[in-house]
Amino acid sequence: MIVAVASGKGGTGKTTVATSLASVLGDRAQILDCDVEEPNCHILLKPTILTTDTVNLPVPSVDLEKCSLCGKCGEVCQFSAIVPIGKTVIAFPELCHGCGACSMLCPEEAIHEVPRNLGVVETGMAGPVEFVQGRIRIGEAMAPPLIRAVKARIRNNKFAILDAPPGASCPVITTVKGSDFVIMVTEPTPFGLNDLEIAVEAIKDLGIPIGVVINRSDIGDSAVRDFCRNRGLPLLMEIPHHRRIAEGYAKGALLIESMPEYADKFKKLTDDISMIIGIPSKGSSL
């Protein structure tokens, strides 16, 4: 089972929810931090990193001696990453998504692929929880291929929890695609609602069931709850705006460590999700 934790708005508590969820599941859980631009699950889970793998993207390099300036590479590229212009062909590696179409279609075999480093994928253990995270190279902007490399480590026999980046753009879609369920963590404010609406719109086209967790639930207004009711989105859990949670978080403690009574709520959350998507949360078919 694969559950993505997303939010729309940043800073609503995705990591807070994802890490406590992983912790109550213990050795049944695998947590994968897909927010490769600023992974932070490690701060709360304090894993021991056991492996580090470099992730590269194949980008084009053109041999102008062989090039006949036919223009096929430029026609197929949707991102202007390779452009025949004047009497030459220019590659823009930082725009390349690594699909390989230009080198495949080149009739002169003038294009070969060279690796461009995107970052690393690290794996390890956080107590009984299997831990995976991606870390993008500083200065790099192409997150989706690195996120796919993180997701390639998903283990089918685990309850895989994907901590998504904020927003509703390519890195978020890349993360949630293929998940069985998406938990949207939001806050009951106009900002939370606005970004929740955008993210729900983006994710609903993927056909993945969505449930909502409202963090800092005793601030703001009722608009997020109204939105959930109108859109038929189940409200899975509410977490209050509590000083003890904030103090624990500032010290790097999990929510279920600063508020132990929440352990049962998170166990119930896994059961509720399993029921919604019709997969038993316990046993071999997990």
Partner: protein, 119 residues
Amino acid sequence: MKIAVTSTGKTIESVIDPRFGRAPFIVIVDDDCNLIEAIDNSKNVNAFRGAGIQAAKTIADRKVDLLLTGRCGPNAFTALEAAGVKVGIEQSGTIREAVERVKRNEVPLADKPNAEAHW
């Protein structure tokens, strides 16, 4: 000499759009400011990325000698330089006024990009 100008409209009296890749029109004129072609650049206006590169290709394919615009980013500049198109920057007012400035040698030519890349 063929001159391309980034423009808000389709005529030589149109006002220059200072953005290179995302200008709604690219107007091509000769030295005497006779209109050769007004290219609809609308598909580039909302491009996610690579707008400047595509606009550079559009004008390079038409064998333009000089571009008049406001700002030109690094990728577009690389492409224009490779195609041998000179880049006149910091232009404003109408297309006709800018072409007059070319005749008076008052247009600064860029030797490097004068705008940041868009992410």
